[in-house]
Every structure is written in structure tokens, then in C-alpha cells.
């Protein structure tokens, strides 16, 4: 069945579904697209105040960039995390929210969660573009040289999110509490990942345990490329890449196994 024509038409449908997500996201809101930058900025403000003025913590300058701005360091791992979290959260409910579409029309069902990830990717690309401008404004030209690595990392983050989203979206059809459970999971996971605090703050044994979490490697890699202006560590990069590919393969196979019953379950 997977002829070239079906592939082409589903690619166009994919583009259309992604556009639908993007268009409907900020429909009827006054600030519209500005919200997608207001949110991370508000987060940044809160965390910066807590980190610097409540905890009196100091980050230390990036090596070799020499940059010493906590807010920029925070954003370089928080924006990718937000992209990952938003992709998964919107993908999870994508099948349930489009039950009418699934029950009345046929198209490859994985396009629905995938379109959510793709829509997230578009917003993320804009955010990362703005962050890059800010980094350049603060004189960190090395971030520009690391751009190919940043693109690779964004791609891996998307793959990670897609695999997770595929798996959870189809499970959420069978067990609706998944989405509530995942909200808590993300909250814990976020603080278990060195995004608002540098990993060096932790005891070395704890650091080793933290590195089981592939998101730690994601955060470290983004911080290295964007803030420090150096290549990501090869171990971190390959561990994160392997985790992303593995999760994608597992997510896809879970999805493929369960998608046949979707129209009945919804």
C-alpha cells in the first residue's frame, strides 16, 4: 500500500495538520504568537530571581565563551526542554481530541501526534533563533560556529519527543489517566535534569546517577554548544542520540501495534 502517491498525499496532509495546529493554537487570543515567547521569558525571569537573589548562587563563566549571564545559560537548556514537554503533552491528547476524524476518515494515524511535534518544532525554531540573536548580542560568537550541532540536537530532541508522544498518545486512548500522570512525571523530570542549576552543584556520585537520564545529556549538550561555545561531549551526544532513536523505535512499534483498534476505542 505504501506507494509513492500515498506517501506524497500523506506528506501534504502532514503539512496541513501541522498548519492547523499552528493556526488554531493562538486563535482568538490578543497577543497571539507573542505568547510563545512571553511564556519562556516569564519562566526565565522567575528562575533567575530565585537562583540569583534567593539562593545567592553563582554560575561561573562559560568556557571558552567567557559568557557570564545566568538567564542565557538557563534558556539554552530550558527552551529545548519546553519544546520536548510541549510536544509530548500536545501529542498525548491528539488522538483523543481528534476522535471524530479517526472514526470518520482514514489516513495514517501517526500523522496526528507527529503534526503536534512538528508544530512545536516551528515555535521552537523561532525561540532558538531569538536566543541566538541574544547570545550574539552578548558577544558569544562561538555559538554560531556550533550551529550544526545545535541543529542536530534539536532534531534529536524532536525524535525523542515524537517517540514518547507516539507511545503515550495511543496508550492514552486506552487509559485516559496517562495525561494526568505525565504532568507529574514532567514536573519531577524537569527538576531531575540540570536545567535551572548546573550539574556541578551536585555531589559527584549523584551526578553519575543523574546521567542515566538522557535529558541530562540533552541539557549538557545544549549548554555546551550555545552557552560555552564548544562541541558537545561525545559521550553525552551519543548517549542522547541512542536514547532518542531507541525511544522512537519503541514508540513507533507500540503505536503500530495499537493503532488498528483506535476507531473502536475512541
Amino acid at each position: 500500500m505504501t506507494t509513492l502517491a500515498t506517501y506524497r498525499s500523506s506528506r501534504e496532509l502532514f503539512a496541513n495538520l501541522t498548519l492547523r495546529e499552528l493556526r488554531s493554537k493562538y486563535k482568538r487570543s490578543f497577543l497571539g504568537w507573542a505568547w510563545s515567547t512571553v511564556n519562556p521569558l516569564a519562566n526565565m525571569l522567575v528562575y533567575t530571581i530565585v537562583f540569583k537573589y534567593f539562593f545567592h548562587a553563582r554560575l561561573g563563566p562559560g568556557e571558552p565563551s567567557g559568557l557570564d549571564v545566568y538567564s542565557l545559560w538557563l534558556l539554552s537548556a530550558m527552551l529545548p526542554w519546553n519544546f520536548f514537554q510541549n510536544s509530548v503533552m500536545t501529542a498525548i491528547s491528539s488522538l483523543v481530541n481528534n476522535s471524530n476524524l479517526i472514526k470518520k476518515t482514514y489516513f495514517p494515524r501517526d500523522l496526528l501526534p507527529a503534526a503536534n511535534v512538528a508544530a512545536g518544532l516551528v515555535s521552537h525554531a523561532i525561540e532558538m533563533g531569538l536566543l541566538l540573536v541574544a547570545l550574539l548580542a552578548f558577544g558569544n560568537y562561538r555559538a554560531l560556529e556550533e550551529l550544526p550541532f545545535v541543529v542536530l540536537l534539536v532534531f534529536l530532541t524532536a525524535l525523542f519527543g515524537l517517540g514518547f508522544g507516539l507511545m503515550l498518545s495511543v496508550l492514552n486512548v486506552y487509559f485516559r489517566d496517562i495525561q494526568h500522570f505525565v504532568t507529574i512525571l514532567f514536573m519531577v523530570w524537569f527538576y531531575m535534569t540540570p536545567i535551572i542549576y548546573p550539574i556541578a552543584f551536585l555531589h559527584s556520585r549523584l551526578q553519575t546517577i543523574m546521567k542515566i537520564n538522557p535529558m541530562t545529556d540533552m541539557a549538557l549538550s545544549f549548554q555546551a554548544t550555545l552557552y560555552d561555545g564548544t562541541h558537545p561531549g561525545w559521550i553525552e551526544l551519543s548517549y542522547f542520540a541512542l536514547a532518542a532513536i531507541a525511544l522512537f523505535v519503541v514508540g513507533r512499534s507500540v503505536f503500530n501495534r495499537l493503532e488498528g483498534g483506535l476507531a473502536e476505542e475512541l
Binding site: A5, R8, S9, E12, L13, A15, N16, L17, L19, R20, R23, S24, K27, R28, N100, L101, I102, K103, K104, T105, Y106, F107, F175, R176, D177, I178, F181, G260, G261, A263, E264
Partner: protein, 405 residues
């Protein structure tokens, strides 16, 4: 799974089971606490159904509610996956299961046309080319750039149909969607539908409208309790179906199907020759009157009588009603007669069947329907034509010199 070049749709031993949950685990908590002890009852919506539809054929699926015909259609569209057997559809498929199913309320009509078209498998280039045609057909006008949540339900459905019908599929799967919109739009839909059929598309149609099935379909499949009862020519299958299934259905003394709620009945139908004599044959071009005797047990408000004439192989020639003729009384009670006169009767020699019905003014509630209650012959008469079933009384002019346009 092999499909011959001339077979467009094939179902091979298709079975579909639905699980009816007595108690089901919809939450993780319930699953963990109760383990795998879910109480399930199997319900076979389809059992071992096989049929083939040759390319270019219009194939109807009929049956009662819950007989499995819609499930069959959903299996053909791949929305449902059969538990056993296989389904093969050759060529580009478009399914009309619900109009506007993919519409997003906040998006404009224009955005939705492109989204819905993509779901139905139309490329963006094609959609751009046909966009004006789609909007024209739906009669949406300036509303096309409004969010569809501001549409009336009629506009919503019209736009949905318009997109779906413009997909230009090779195989069209239709579920009861032709009965949408006002009368004018319905006529447009039927025309478009016939156009598709006549251009050699394969159509599989689920319908409750037996006359629609009889007029449109080349072959019909009758489903009952998930099983395929009979496949064959429309007239044969519909008679088998109507003869056995409906609860309020009976067979009159002559063995013809009859149904309706029965508050009023058509007790007798006869054909009267010019002299007023009851006959069973008339001459082509003579005056002919059909007389219906009715008996209303209770007062019936605004009753409508319909008299349909078919050829013996079931093709509907005409079906005038008292509503068409603006001849609907406010109320009828007791007995009486209704006459409809054709002067001249423009039927050509042959044999014809008459079906009469007594319904409410919207035609939706049948009080009494008597299928093929009267058969009559037309013999050669004053109309000299011989081919076809009717004469439309056209006039010819030959040999005039008219300048070329």
C-alpha cells in the same frame, strides 16, 4: 491478496468482532486493582462476508440498523480493521461517511477546505485548481473566510459534501450522506453523484432509501445480523429484504409487499379506460385514469397520495404526488376515492407496474405503501413511437436553412 484488474472492491471472508464491555478498565487504577478481570462479551458485527464489486459498478448495501452494513463500509475504508479475512480496494478511494468530519471549528472555511481535502487525499495543487468550483457548489459565498463555527449546519454540511465530491476518486464509498441540505442542494448532489457514476467510477453505497438504491445501483447486497444474505439485481434483493425483515410489513393477498403504520389504507387500485370501465390494458396515447380507494380509520391531516409507475425491470418512470399537484386536503376521514388522470397516457407499448402510497405531507411517515399493487399493459395506439418506454411528445423540423452559429 490478489485483485483482478476488473475488480475494484473485494471483501474476502471478512469478520469483525466488537467487544461489549460489561465492566471495563478505563483507568489505570481500575486495571491495577482488578487485574485482567474485565468482563467482555463478543458481538460479531460481521461474519464471513465475501463479495466482489467490478470496476464501474454501483453497489448498494442494505439492511436494518445494526445489520453490519456500515461496519462493512468502515472496513473497506480501513477505519476499522477486520478480525478475520481481508479487504482490497483498487484505485484512489474517497469515503463519505460524515460530511465535514474533519472541520476545525476555529479555522475558516478556506483553511478547512484545504485540510479536509488533504485528509480525503487531494493534493494542494488540485485543491487550488478546484477551489472556486468547490465554493461555488457549496453556495457559501463570502462566508468562506469566516470560521466554520459561525456556519449554519446546512452550510457546514454543504461545504463538507462539496469538498468530498470534488476529490474525483476512482472508488467512492458513501454512507447515507446524500440526504443533506435543502431540496435544491439535494438535487445538485444527486446530479453530481449520477455524473460520477456515469463516468465509470465504482461506487459502494449504504442506504436506507430503497427507491434510491433501486434507481442507482447495479447490484445490491443485503446484510442481516452481520451476515450477507443475498447479492444480486436490486429488484430481486430489495424484494427479498422487504418481504422478510420489516416488522410492520405484510404481504397483500396477491403476494406483494405492503407496509405502513395503518391509520389510513389504500384499499383498492384500478385502471379506468376512457369509458370508465375497469381494465388491465390501455392503448398508448389514450386517456387513462388510475382510481385509488382509501379508508381512513382515524382523521389524517394533510395526507399525500403518490402513484409511481415502473417498468417491469424496476426502473422508475414517473412518480407524481398530490402534493406536487397542490392538491392536499386539510384532513381526510372515512372512505373515498382519489383519481389521477393521464390524458394522453404517454407510455409506449409494454408492461408496467404501479406502486401507490399514502404518506404525511413530508413523505417521511408512510401510512400505507403498496408495492406493485397493479400491473397493466399498454398496447399500440395513437402514439407511433416504438423505442423506449415513454413519448415526450417532441416535434421535429427538418431541412430549414439556419445560418451557422
Amino acid at each position: 491478496m490478489t485483485t483482478g484488474p476488473d475488480i475494484a472492491v473485494r471483501a474476502d471472508g471478512v469478520s469483525k468482532k466488537f467487544r461489549l464491555f460489561k465492566e471495563r478498565n478505563n483507568t489505570l487504577k481500575a486495571t491495577i486493582l482488578r487485574g485482567r478481570r474485565i468482563v467482555v462479551e463478543d458481538f460479531w458485527a460481521l461474519r464471513d462476508v465475501s463479495f466482489e464489486v467490478p470496476r464501474g459498478e454501483t453497489f448498494g448495501l442494505i439492511g436494518e440498523n445494526g445489520s453490519g452494513k456500515s461496519t462493512m463500509l468502515k472496513c473497506l475504508t480501513q477505519i476499522l480493521r477486520p478480525d478475520a479475512g481481508s479487504v482490497a480496494v483498487q484505485g484512489k478511494v474517497s469515503a463519505l461517511l460524515e460530511l465535514g468530519a474533519g472541520f476545525h471549528a476555529e479555522l475558516t472555511g478556506r483553511e478547512n477546505v484545504f485540510l479536509n481535502g488533504a485528509i480525503l487525499g487531494l493534493s494542494q495543487k488540485e485543491l487550488r485548481r478546484r477551489f472556486d468550483e468547490i465554493v461555488d457548489f457549496a453556495g457559501i459565498g463570502a462566508f468562506i473566510d469566516e470560521p466554520v463555527k459561525n456556519y449554519s449546519s446546512g452550510m457546514y454540511v454543504r461545504l463538507g459534501f462539496s469538498v468530498a465530491i470534488n476529490v474525483d476518486p476512482e472508488v467512492l464509498l458513501v454512507d447515507e450522506v446524500l440526504a443533506v441540505g435543502d431540496e435544491a442542494f439535494q438535487r445538485k448532489c444527486n446530479e453530481k453523484f449520477l455524473e460520477l457514476r456515469d463516468s465509470g467510477k465504482t461506487v459502494v453505497l449504504v442506504s436506507h432509501g430503497l427507491s434510491q438504491v433501486q434507481n442507482l445501483c447495479d447490484r445490491v447486497a443485503w446484510f442481516s445480523h452481520g451476515q450477507l444474505m443475498k447479492v444480486g439485481p436490486p429488484r430481486e434483493v430489495i424484494q427479498a429484504y422487504t418481504g422478510t425483515v420489516q416488522v410492520d410489513r405484510e404481504v397483500d393477498d396477491a403476494g406483494n409487499p405492503r407496509w405502513g403504520s395503518g391509520e389510513g389504507r389504500i384499499t383498492h387500485v384500478e385502471l379506468l379506460a376512457p369509458g370508465g370501465l375497469s381494465v388491465d390494458k390501455v392503448r398508448s396515447g389514450d386517456r387513462a385514469t388510475f382510481r385509488l380507494r382509501y379508508d381512513m380509520q382515524s382523521a389524517i391531516e394533510r395526507p399525500v397520495f403518490t402513484l409511481a409507475i415502473r417498468t417491469v425491470n424496476g426502473f422508475l418512470l414517473t412518480s407524481p404526488t398530490t402534493r406536487d399537484a397542490n392538491c392536499v386536503p386539510e384532513k381526510l376521514q372515512g372512505g373515498g376515492t382519489v383519481d389521477v388522470t393521464f390524458d394522453p397516457l404517454r407510455l409506449l407499448p409494454g408492461t408496467y407496474d404501479v406502486t401507490v402510497s399514502l404518506t404525511d405531507v413530508s413523505y417521511s411517515h408512510p401510512y400505507d405503501v403498496r408495492q406493485n399493487v397493479l400491473r397493466f399493459d399498454v398496447e399500440p395506439g395513437s402514439i407511433p413511437e416504438t423505442q423506449g418506454a415513454v413519448s415526450l411528445g417532441g416535434t421535429w423540423r427538418v431541412g430549414d436553412l439556419v445560418p451557422d452559429p
